[in-house]
Amino acid sequence: MPRPAAPPTAAEDKIERAEIDASTRLPVVLFYGSAIFWLLVGSFFALLASLKMNNPHFLDQWGWLTFGRVRPAHLNAVAYGWASSAAIGTGLWLMARLCRVPLRYSKLVIGAAIFWNLGVLLGTFGILAGDGRSIEWLEFPNYASGMLFVAYGLIAVWGVLMFRFRQPGHVYVSQWYLLAAFLWFPWLYSTANILLNFEPIQGGAQGAVNWWYGHNALGLWFTPIGLATAYYLIPKVLGRPIHSYYLSILGFWTLALFYSWNGMHHLIGGPFPAWMISASVVASIMMFIPVITTAINHHMTVRGNFGALKWSPTLRFTVFGAMCYTLASVQGSFMAIPSLNVITHFTHYTVGHAHLGLYAFFTMIMFGAMYYILPRVVGWEWPSARLIRWHFWLVAIGIGVMVVALTIGGILQGLALLDPGITFMASLDYTKPWLLIRSGSGILLTAGHIVFAVSFCLLLFKVGAKRTEPTLFGTDQGREPEPLNR
């Protein structure tokens, strides 16, 4: 038996961390850069689709700009182009840091990045050209989804290999989430694509497969990556361990147990066996367990240090996202209750809920992660605090307005749809002012994304004077660590 080495010194820790960060540079920048590109593309299609709600004939002289194509182009560009690329970029960096080894097999992940972008590009063009499949969340034609699967398979293999070569010790809760998401998603994606697009199963059952996938893409792919990031960044930025680590572990295993059952609550009232729907409603309510454990943990970790949101861009975005996770999840559990679902189903309320989950929760946490990770992997400070502030306030106000408008508009629409005295066409009138407000909020969000893209380019091309003292690179040299409020 070799003698155990002396524990590493602070200087060695710093070098080791810098090496690990640097090893992830190219893959992370590739995934983040393409994520931001697709975010802009997706925002453009979103704005178009939103404006068409109030002006159906806006730009409809070209087939490829009709609502039926720009709306799925928006969904897929943001889900696979933006959100998934951002998730993979964050996952790569987190995995390397938590395994405490430099990124191995970088060719594997760089290849994945190329395949992934080609897939999203082909798929988006395919949808615009009219090849889209009318299956929500899976509109990409087969030639694109095949490429996405190859890319994703590479990432999954990479995740397992990294975990295999990790340094010994405790497996942190974020690692559980990451590894689970890396393994679950290729299975979800391939199963749903095979059963719906490659070898379609019989009619009725397709809806069940569709929403099994649609909900799990959020629950077993985006949510675990978002939570893994929050569970790492919040304690790390504040320098304070998670309030109750026990609860965080409980949260992971209960999420693994309950989330995969949730999809069928999208089909309440549909032609499906009652037990399928009931089981899903029960599982949706059981989601309170992982959600509340996470909410308690994040709140209690930040409590007493909310002032930190003033000086840390990472924390500001991440805490905003973590709070919205609780909000979106609690709302989702309530929406699964059939007596409430009867009002909200098939209305803009659901659209508001989707944006609360994928934007206010997931996207905000990804912004926070990028603010933390990019300076460390590129070796350059964010050039302008003002741009970061503009970015935050534009998107925070934008998403707030959007969710509120869609929620109110959706409830009015739902009540009108249930009223036999109101015709279907008249029920749409109730939504018009709220949809107009939604378009306005979309402009704010798009402006925020442009500000962020500018900030990213300035950082990437190292514009501005070289900073001699690191501002985001951890502890300032020679300074005694100060205890934060306990």
Binding site: D13, G169, E199, W311, T314, T471, P481, E482, P483
Partner: protein, 76 residues
């Protein structure tokens, strides 16, 4: 063709359910559920110890950010 796919999907179902159970068993067996308070501290080290914040707003002026940020942090 269909039979092959259904067998593959069934195998996938068993495989992914199985790996989750196996992971849970492995975690329990290797003591991942013990000493949880120490586990929560693995993301810190001597260079970035508990009690030290690691992220501050970049300031506009290149020569001021650290001191300004540190001063702000002292208040908190």
């Amino acid at each position: 063709m269909n039979t092959v796919i259904y067998i593959l999907l069934g195998a996938g179902l068993v495989f992914f359910g199985g790996t989750t159970l196996a992971a849970f068993y492995w975690a329990a067996r290797t003591g991942q559920f013990r000493n949880l308070e120490d586990g929560s501290k693995v993301i810190f080290d001597d260079d970035e110890p508990v009690g030290t914040a690691t992220d501050v707003f970049a300031d506009k002026k290149a020569d001021r950010p650290v001191r300004a940020a540190v001063a702000r942090r002292r208040i908190i």
